[in-house]
Symmetry: C2
DNA sequence: CGCCGCCTTGACTCCCTTCAATGCGAGTGG
DNA sequence: CCACTCGCATTGAAGGGAGTCAAGGCGGCG
């Protein structure tokens, strides 16, 4: 249920980081859609803050299938982990700008600044909550419910119910929700058919009045077919 | 793939907490199997460290189905969240003893102690990694693979391949893996049939030599039937 | 013993995946 | 401008894996 990161704490992180003189060590990097920032198992020399654009973090299985852990938008810190290697691949979904911090320096700054480490802890706790929400979703909800929830989350993150942008491809959505691309398509078609949403193009949708989409997401068991 | 928490950081947390004089404020509570420590949506006045036993954290859906987020054993800190309410229900799986810290005091201590907040951040990052591992598992693995992975994790946490204890019920396992109780049973039966494991009782198993269980968990697509 | 909770097994159903075409919009070059 | 291509999205048909429903089986305990 959680795609795009909340900005508040991250902004705070940015502030605390600059207080700690970290920005002197940081550089900015630009990415085109599809470019990777770091790759699974690569040693984690840097961590990053997204300045603009949308990125995704995912894992690839042996057979080529993927699981998209999360989408991140501007403000989010990514690439921090308890491990010395990155456990995911991070890839730009839209054109992106990111600030790169040397990991060691960043961790030292965090150790030295209670505010920064508190903010980091809070953001991490929030992500953990969100990861668990999505475990419930993937483990216990039907395809229709997952897609409906996903659209609602997109809308909430963009604070709109009309002309909401879908930044990512159908494949990305499928990999995020634990479905196949065909099932995502069919669910979207069905949602249009029952008039829970309308779509002006493949990447823009509006939510119909009346809470129909919410009802479906909540589990009043709307099925495909 | 992640059931039982690693102790190292938590022990450190305990040390740091007592350094900060927190233990003076803490009390110890004992729980029988099935008793709850806190309930979803309840305001989070306390956080807890498990001293002995195994606990589980879960969410309940409207229709009564559950998703077990994680099992925790001694050393783990639970009940901390970015929100002022608990987002899960915590329940004892085996008889448990827990130390209760007033949440406010604990957060203050964390803010005052860089070591403590670093340790908390690390533990939380680790849990996030584990939550995402399990998202991959639930989203992309077959029932057989999930059950096989679960048994391997249990064995790893107990550092044994013979006479490994299954602390939790079949229902708990199912709710943890995003399956039904029947599917878990059938997978276990199948694993016994192909001699990947043997079971001396319903709650104790041994892993067969030859890495058969690992092969199944990895995805060489062993199916039910 | 007989009850009770947990576990196991069987038969059937159905949602989602798999496999396979087809549609569609954007960019390219003749 | 249109033919062509390429990637992404959509739709259809068929099959299978896991869920659902329904009986037992097994072990512990009063």
């Amino acid at each position: 249920m959680a795609q795009i990161q909340i900005h508040l704490d991250s902004d705070f992180i940015a502030g605390a980081a600059s207080d700690a003189g970290l920005n002197a060590l940081a550089c900015v990097k630009h990415l085109k859609p599809g470019e990777t920032l770091y790759v699974e198992a690569e040693s984690a020399g840097f961590c990053y803050q997204i300045l603009s654009g949308v990125m995704k973090e995912y894992n690839t299985l042996e057979d080529g299938r993927r699981q998209v852990a999360e989408f991140y938008s501007d403000g989010a810190m990514i690439g921090l982990s308890a491990e010395p290697q990155h456990l995911h691949t991070a890839e730009a979904v839209t054109p992106c700008a990111v600030r790169c911090f040397p990991r060691e320096a960043f961790m030292h700054a965090a150790a030295a600044s209670p505010e920064l480490s508190q903010a980091l802890l809070n953001e991490t706790l929030m992500r953990l909550d969100r990861a668990r929400e999505r475990m419930v979703m993937i483990g216990r909800m039907s395809a229709m419910q997952r897609v409906a929830s996903f659209l609602l989350r997109l809308a909430a993150d963009q604070d709109a119910r009309e002309n909401v942008s879908i930044f990512m491809s159908r494949q990305d959505i499928a990999d995020h929700l634990g479905l196949t691309i065909e099932t995502v398509c069919r669910a979207l078609t069905e949602l249009k058919k029952v008039k829970a949403v309308s779509m002006s193009s493949t990447r823009v949708f509006s939510i119909a009045e009346g809470g129909c989409l919410e009802t479906i997401a909540m589990g009043a068991r709307a099925r495909l077919h």
